[in-house]
Amino acid sequence: MQNSKNIEFNTETLELVNRIISRYPEGRQKSAILPVLHIAQSENSGWLSSETMDYVACLLQIQPIEVYEVASFYSMFNLQPVGNCMIEVCQTGPCWLNGAEDILAHFEKRLGIKPGETTADGQFSLKTVECLAACGNAPVIQVGTEYHEKMTTGKADELLEKWQSENKCSHTNPYL
């Protein structure tokens, strides 16, 4: 949960970023902003600090405000620090029809936190999200790039135990 003041990608990540930038026409490197922000967020403990966004602006040769505008628009970007493992619970219609409220309540009870909060030890954050497009297997949760479908409270317990024991980190480079 620390704030890395001077974020800088390593050579390998920079190579990936440059490969992504090269997918867009010359002078259109701003197009790479979403993929690069995803990577930057994963390297900055799961959230985008001002410094991180400024670094991305610098990489893409655009004004910092252009990055802030974009980062604050898309719901996958966190502009505040989050826990090591962020549990995102879908709550839209189809998941609600199949008991999403019970799943959310169970996580709240087990973790002792409400959506938008992080456990005191910094391990878990809880977040409600809108439709994850897996409604056939509702209720659904997402952790990092993993989907966990047909959730039950029993399954939630199993997953929590597993994540607790392995210090699960949900913000890994999504391209890898």
Binding site: S50, Q63, P64, I65, E66, Y68, E69, S72, F73
Partner: protein, 307 residues
């Protein structure tokens, strides 16, 4: 230059091809001109957002007389030869405009008594013309804390209607935009994200283009209601802009300097911050004479021209 004929509320006018319905209506003038809260003719790409200027196209063109299926934003829809438009003659348009006015107000603080924009606020005008007497909302309004963006401009986000004009001013008049629209949906806000001064020679024009009291001049803050001040056209030699401004005076004191606005509230020319903020002494300026206020504004109630 090819001319096309368009009929707005039964009044026919010939305009250049490529003119928008709104600008065609402005050529006719008077009551058929739709209100525009976000469109600004001098800002490229503006308009289309607030939806107050929606009109009905009863006939698309002479060639294709079919009506358009939905109301269209008159500020962004080009006239066609033989187009027939209904604005104030369409009950559907008037109902929509009333609804849009209500949408713009449900989260507005209605703090006109303490707002410096009162008296020259387009949202006030719009509400006066199209607003309901009562509110239909019971919930709390969205609130933001007022912030300073630089030492000359105050941002009251609560009052903002997200017209994007100030963002376009920064994009089109200055070389480095530091403020923008952050967030999404009704959480959108104008901000610099990390408190940064909006600081360049033309940033003050953000105040003049703001249709509401979201961006106000800190050097004028709480000094006077605008209708107690008397506007004069004046100019000075300026290396950055034309130096043509309006001085807002109370007695001999210059309380405020703004650009000169036309009857639709749009600046004739953008002025520099030097003229706007740094020259408040009477001998800084050559006074040309009283400024005519053409809008149906309370400022006009002063009848100072006769003095």
């Amino acid at each position: 230059m090819s001319l096309v004929k368009v009929t707005i509320d039964q009044i026919e006018v010939e305009v250049e091809a490529g003119t928008t319905i709104l600008n065609a209506a402005r050529i006719i003038g008077g009551g058929v001109v739709p209100p525009a809260m976000c469109y600004y003719s001098k800002l490229e790409g503006s308009g289309g957002k607030c939806r107050t200027c929606l009109v009905k196209v009863a006939q698309g063109s002479a060639k294709d007389p079919r009506p358009m299926p939905k109301l269209v934003p008159s500020c962004r829809t080009l006239v066609q030869d033989g187009m027939v438009v209904q604005n104030i003659t369409s009950p559907e348009v008037m109902e929509a405009r009333k609804a849009i006015t209500e949408f713009l107000l449900i989260n507005h603080p209605l703090d006109c008594p303490v707002c410096d924009q009162a008296g020259e606020c387009h949202l006030q005008d719009l509400s006066y013309d199209h607003g309901l007497a009562d509110t239909q909302t019971v919930e709390d309004r969205r609130t933001f804390a007022p912030i300073d963006i630089g030492d000359k401009i105050k941002l009251h986000m609560n009052r903002c209607i997200l017209c994007y004009r100030c963002v376009m001013v920064a994009d089109q008049l200055t070389d480095q935009r530091v403020h923008g629209v952050l967030g999404r949906g009704d959480h959108c806000e104008i901000s610099t994200h990390i408190l940064k001064a909006v600081d360049n020679d033309f940033s003050g024009n953000m105040i003049d283009v703001c249709p509401v009291g979201a961006l106000t001049d800190k050097t004028f803050r709480f000094k006077s209601r605008v209708w107690f001040t008397k506007p004069f056209d004046a100019h000075r030699e300026c290396t950055k802009c034309s130096g043509k401004v309006v001085l807002w005076k109370k007695g001999d004191e210059i309380l405020r300097v703004t650009g000169r606005k036309n009857k639709y509230g749009e600046l004739e020319e953008f002025i520099c911050n030097d003229c706007r903020f740094e020259h408040k002494e009477p001998n800084d300026w050559q006074i040309e004479g009283p400024r005519k206020i053409e809008r149906h504004s309370v400022i006009g109630q002063n009848h100072y021209e006769k003095l």
